[in-house]
Symmetry: C2
Subunit: 281 residues, 2 copies
Amino acid sequence: MNKDTWYKGADYFSQDFCISFKVNSTIHKEKSKYQTIEIVDTPAFGKMLLLDGFIMTTDKDEKAYHEMLVHPAMTVHPDPKKVLIIGGGDGGTVREVLKYPVNKITLVEIDEKVIETSKKFLPELSKGLNDPRVEVVIMDAAVYAKKAKEKYDIILVDSAGTRGPGVVLCEKEFLNNTVKNISPDIWVAQSESIFWGNDFRKTYTTTLKKLFNIVRTYLTYILSYGGAWTFTFASNTLDPLIPRREAKGKLWYYNTVVHHAAFQLPEHLSKTKSENFSYFK
Amino acid sequence: MNKDTWYKGADYFSQDFCISFKVNSTIHKEKSKYQTIEIVDTPAFGKMLLLDGFIMTTDKDEKAYHEMLVHPAMTVHPDPKKVLIIGGGDGGTVREVLKYPVNKITLVEIDEKVIETSKKFLPELSKGLNDPRVEVVIMDAAVYAKKAKEKYDIILVDSAGTRGPGVVLCEKEFLNNTVKNISPDIWVAQSESIFWGNDFRKTYTTTLKKLFNIVRTYLTYILSYGGAWTFTFASNTLDPLIPRREAKGKLWYYNTVVHHAAFQLPEHLSKTKSENFSYFK
């Protein structure tokens, strides 16, 4: 085994732990205004998009992430016609939303180079971005939220919450502005790993609870994110455990039993302990 | 960051992927008759036991593995008095079983050096091994199974199935002998990762289905095993979705909702596709 072909992923746990993987080749690498964007080809995961060295999405398991970000919200809402996506420039989230008969999707992405890269190298993810129902806004979502006037049924936050340009999208001001100006029925955000990012999730959940009556975390298995990932679902009226209609389209990960199972947390993460949502003490 | 302090775990996926972690110090290292045994101290996982470079157990997440191996079987069985553990020399599985009022636990471990190492360096795991109800048999479990006469209510297979000295414990002959001679009400085995080991699980499940009426796979989040791990539950009469009593003891991972949720598989692993139980195509 030639060690030189290995790529050590960006470190989790304050540089104590990471995922390493073999790389066949670097397909694309550029430094945008906001971050370093890379597409690499790997034997384990297929093509992989990295931002500042962190794995964002891979051929092999992107469906687990994108389906679980999108379909719980889209099946719990009785009839969503307008969906706002924060981040998500690779297009995977758009692709899943387009499986439903929506009228409009607005995607607010700060870095147009991510969109360009995905369009060029990840067609399976980005193919929905050219759909006529999709409006792409290249803008800092924090700025967008401040002056937003249009209402959306669902907001999906698909940005790297604890690092890079998306950090501001987890802060109180952005949450307050977005909810006040857009008043979505459902808010779903990726909310970092089950195993780390506990501090992030605690703060984020606390803020969301001031804005929504129902706030629940749910779990998904995603190998390239360290095995387990969380999403947070928030709504004033819609219980995430009551899907109101069938999911649409061909699905690889999501199904109705998984929808329900995903909200059942291990004891150490359970509701009664949500103020100390901690895998590692 | 000093790269020299990093330890690259044994490779998964035919050497295409692995977990890397920082190591503070190697506490113990020896070559037994069967394998290389290591105890290392890590900032991310605390103390860690490795066999031939594969992570077997860590301070930080061993409870997820041991609780989910033990408590589903112990709560579904109405009154287990005798439990046979195959492998499990570190003692973690014994510790969990001892939370119930059993009369006898027999642990069959091939490598006494694993037991000695755990007793010396992992007291939290191994403390139950000295309980008077525990009989430790140092023997190849394949040999043990051939001549076994004693009946057990539950068999728990806690061995590294696809590598090392435990490979034989996944083969048809061992399964046939064990079930014929011991006739357990419940069989639970660790059955490798949700993400790889598909070939292993397919063969294993097929063999178990010839011996038991009910065979179901369930899932658990374990970071140091790559995030997600599977167990396989088999019984002729006891449905794993019907626990018959409360779990005992202080628990970190297992609870009743997780028990049920664990059996709900993502679409690509779902029951209808069990003959092609594959995460990676």
